[in-house]
Amino acid sequence: MSKTIKATADDIWKNKVEKINSELFTLTYGSVVAQLCRDFHNDYVQVNAQLERMGFNIGIRLIEDFLARTGLGRCQSFKETAEVVSKIGFKIFLNVVPLVTNWSGDGKQFSLVLEENPLAEFVELPQDDKASRALWYSNVLVGVLKGALQMVQLEVDVAFVKDVLRGDDATEIRLKLIKVLRDEVPAGED
């Protein structure tokens, strides 16, 4: 199964995705984050929230594009979701494949470990302590994951736990399944 996933992803990446210059992409994201920091006067908690909101708005659109490109059906388990997010989602949009690891015992939590992060190339956080403690530079990814998964009826809690920019040994995003949303019949319909 995992082999076919990889093959599909490679195929889509090669043939169906429009690519842009990575420096243009990195610098564009960088200036967005830097501008947010200026706008919120270095209130990094606010900046994180704002990035997540932006990501959420991207995610709820991106999932449609993702499903259209891949033609994938519904995942059977959260484990499969994890594989698809990492091996196809990240692959076709960012051309990186984060490692799926640190599963919790109940199979409802896992981590995505990014070996390289295209968003954060060249970046050095501001030299004040506040930034390296509070700012999650790539927090837009959190929003994207939340938004995209919510559109396929998965309510998840997503958060960065580590970032190499802060001096950690890896960049790690933690995902936690809260519940599978059911299609609810609007009140008064039945």
Partner: protein, 141 residues
């Protein structure tokens, strides 16, 4: 042998400075400028800026070689396309090594410039830049 490196922004403002010594011939990389010289170093390099402004338009290369001297000390210069100047005060002539040193520093400078939190002409306070410059100094000088 001792060296003094300064990077000067486009407004003639200093953005980075480093004093270091050679690792060659059993030296340990600490500079051996005497105290009077230490105080004079920044002035000597800033005095050379006028000469750079004359010389930089007469050549197509970024590396301007030794452009000035001060009582046996030579001053080599490198001007980036964005008009940031790298100046090195040194004691002996060593054009090739200094050329490589400057070119690699320019690469490092470009990386710093690409960081979204760095504004042009700000002082460079990144510790990793500092470490990398010192590595280059060890490698070439």
């Amino acid at each position: 042998m001792s060296y003094y490196l300064a990077m000067i922004g486009t407004q003639d403002n200093p953005i980075y400075e480093l004093e270091f010594g050679s690792f060659r011939q059993g030296n340990d990389g600490t500079s051996k400028f005497n105290p009077e010289m230490k105080e004079l170093n920044p002035f000597i390099l800033h005095a050379a800026l006028d000469i750079i402004e004359d010389v930089q338009w007469e050549t197509n290369t970024l590396y301007l070689k030794a452009i000035d001297n001060f009582y046996g000390h030579l001053i080599s210069a490198y001007v980036t396309p964005g008009n940031v100047k790298f100046l090195l005060l040194h004691e002996t002539k060593n054009e090739e090594a200094i050329r490589h040193f400057f070119t690699d520093i320019n690469d490092l400078y470009v990386k710093v410039l690409l960081s979204p939190f760095y504004n042009a002409n700000d002082p460079i306070i990144s510790p990793s830049f500092d470490v990398k410059v010192k590595t280059l100094a060890k490698k070439y000088l």
